[in-house]
């Protein structure tokens, strides 16, 4: 094949795929600035005639989007911080500390990965009911404080920490906690960033569990609020698009800023231990 033609084809196809991938997102952005009712006309407009912030204003002033945004931030940050702590400690223990039954326990955890989380949801609800955590932020946060995937990811990475370093510190009389905080954590920094983004994105985008456990509007996260709004305001496409922008934009920006770490983690997590 003619190399120039091949080049044009490859890049043309790439461009085509990129358009398909981005068009819905760009359309969302565009419609969110249209005046109410504008998108529901023929031919469907691609750009707003008179760009307006009215939909965003409506969302924050009347539909309580600010509250949901804060809820999402609070829940996602809390989950990220707590899950980071739990998973880092556990992953490090599995990688570097010796104790009876270590391999077997790890095998059990990996085996449990095949159980879909939804199996646990019904009893989990009853359990949280007895703990008084239904319809609270904690109801969303607490079950997400540790993940098998996170432990696995940390263990994979922590195995590269040289044992000599830890032994030397032990001989110097450092306690295990000090070793962890002062020596291991700095070495684990890249995986911490990766795990943090993963956890944050998963928490931000999570739908099914918050939908179940958050019964009151005051605790809704953005996806729940959006799903609820979209059932009430089916015909208000412009408003819904503005809501989608508010929901999607933070994670998209976060990803753009830290995509190197994200993609690294994605590959690390998919390579078999």
């Amino acid at each position: 094949m003619n190399p120039r033609l091949a080049k044009a084809m490859v890049n043309g196809l790439l461009l085509g795929v990129a358009v398909v991938a981005l068009l819905p997102l760009l359309w969302m952005l565009s419609v969110s600035f249209m005046t109410p009712g504008e998108a529901s006309s023929l031919p469907p407009p691609l750009l707003p005639k008179h760009a307006t912030w009215a939909n965003y204003h409506e969302l924050f002033a009347r539909a309580g989007m600010g509250r949901y945004l804060l809820n999402s931030l609070l829940v996602s940050v809390a989950i990220t911080a707590l899950a980071l702590a739990c998973n880092l400690m556990a992953g490090y223990a599995f990688a570097k500390l010796r104790f009876a039954g270590r391999e077997r326990l790890f095998q059990v955890l990996i085996g449990a990965l095949v159980i879909p989380a939804q199996v646990a949801m019904l009893p989990l609800f009853l359990l949280l009911k007895y703990l008084g955590l239904v319809n609270s932020y904690a109801g969303v946060i607490v079950p997400a404080m540790a993940t098998i995937f996170g432990i696995f990811l940390v263990r994979q990475y922590a195995r590269t920490v040289p044992d000599e370093l830890l032994e030397a510190a032990r001989i110097d009389g450092a306690g295990e906690l000090r070793i962890f905080v002062q020596i291991v954590l700095p070495l684990l920094k890249p995986i911490m960033v990766t795990l943090a983004i993963f956890t944050f994105l998963a928490a931000w985008n999570d739908f099914m569990w918050p939908l179940i456990v958050l019964t009151g509007q005051e605790h809704y996260t953005l996806p729940i609020a959006l799903a609820s709004l979209s059932r009430e305001h089916v015909q208000d496409s412009e408003l819904m698009m503005a809501g989608s922008v508010v929901t999607v934009l933070p994670v998209l920006l976060l990803f753009l800023a830290l995509q190197r770490y994200y993609l690294q983690g994605l590959l690390l997590g998919s390579v078999k231990g």
Binding site: A78, A85, N135, S136, A138
Partner: protein, 418 residues
Amino acid sequence: MAVLMLMAALLASCSRQANDSHELTFWTVGREGEAVAKLIPDFEREHPGVHVKLQQLPLTAAHQKLLTAVAGGSTPDLTQLGNTWIPELAALDALEPLQVRVERSHTVQQADYFPSIWATNLIDGTLYGVPWYVDTRLLFYRKDLLRQAGFDTPPRDWTQWRHMLAALSPAQRRGYGILLPTNEFEQLLALALQQDEPLLRDNNRYGNFRSAGFKRALTFYVETFKLHQAPMISNVEAGNPWTEFGRGVYAFYLSGPWNIGEFRQRLPAAQQDDWSTAPLPGPEGPGASNAGGSSLVIFRRSPHKEAAWQLVEFLSRPAVQQRFYDLLGDMPPRRSSWEGGALHDDPKARAFRDQLERVKPTPPIPEWERIVTEMQLVAAQAVAGQLTVDQAAVEIDRRADGILEKRRWMLDRQGRSR
């Protein structure tokens, strides 16, 4: 570890402390929230120190949210509750009995309410709710289109109705006689309630959908689709039925009272004289319709029952109900509220006033919502041609009997222990 637990506890307590003593949480379902928000300031002015926190649940998620809230012990103080859902929450022992409060009340006068509507709030003789607005289904129709087709009055019985539907569903026009969203059970239910046979039999232990009456209603319903007098679409796809009705895509629209407000708001002024409402035609002459609507209920767990009751009384005042009607078109459940204000002289509301004297409640059992949902799912299959009417009736009965199994077991056990 301790830090983790502490944080969890802290978070939990954060979420709890929101309930300060003067805050009243009031859940509304669907569009009522926006209108009631305008009534609340008056209430708060009358009751300084009480702050009402409103929450709107989307209609399609409300059932799940309410039950989850009850199950999770996170109920609000009071809520708007569709009267067919009262039996479920009553079975869960989640609702506060209200009879004593009603007897002491100067505002809530039982005799003033439409009896069939009031009856839906009584479960085994205990009163659990006060009707807030009524929702019965009847016909919205395009006067101009009917007139063009040669009909001066709306239909009085099914024969006339079928005749008009046929005349208004011409093959060349991309229009239909009527919109009957296939995922809404209310329309078929209204037709079924017009029949003499009850929908469940033996003290609501078994389905009675095999009765001749129900089959007659289902046949009428299915044929409307078969004759292309109604499109086979769900309300998700129907999207904006108001504009479509305005454009004449549908000549009839079988729906509830809130749509009077919707049509007034959404159709241009020039078109306002082109539509009207009519009582639901029955098999022979004017027929019954469902005694639907929403009640106000107070949750047993509420720490502010007195304040909640004050809000119920406030919202039950005829003057407030008239304002509520003005805001939203939700119709009041008491006769005195109909005697003044815009409601009294509104020609479009008159059909409802008429219909309300001819409404029938649905079986007051927790399983009803589920049975009627199954009824519609099977009916939709019949509409799609996957089942005949007879097969569908048998299938609905089979599903209803399955759903009622536990109820039969519980009734039998109670019977034995007595």
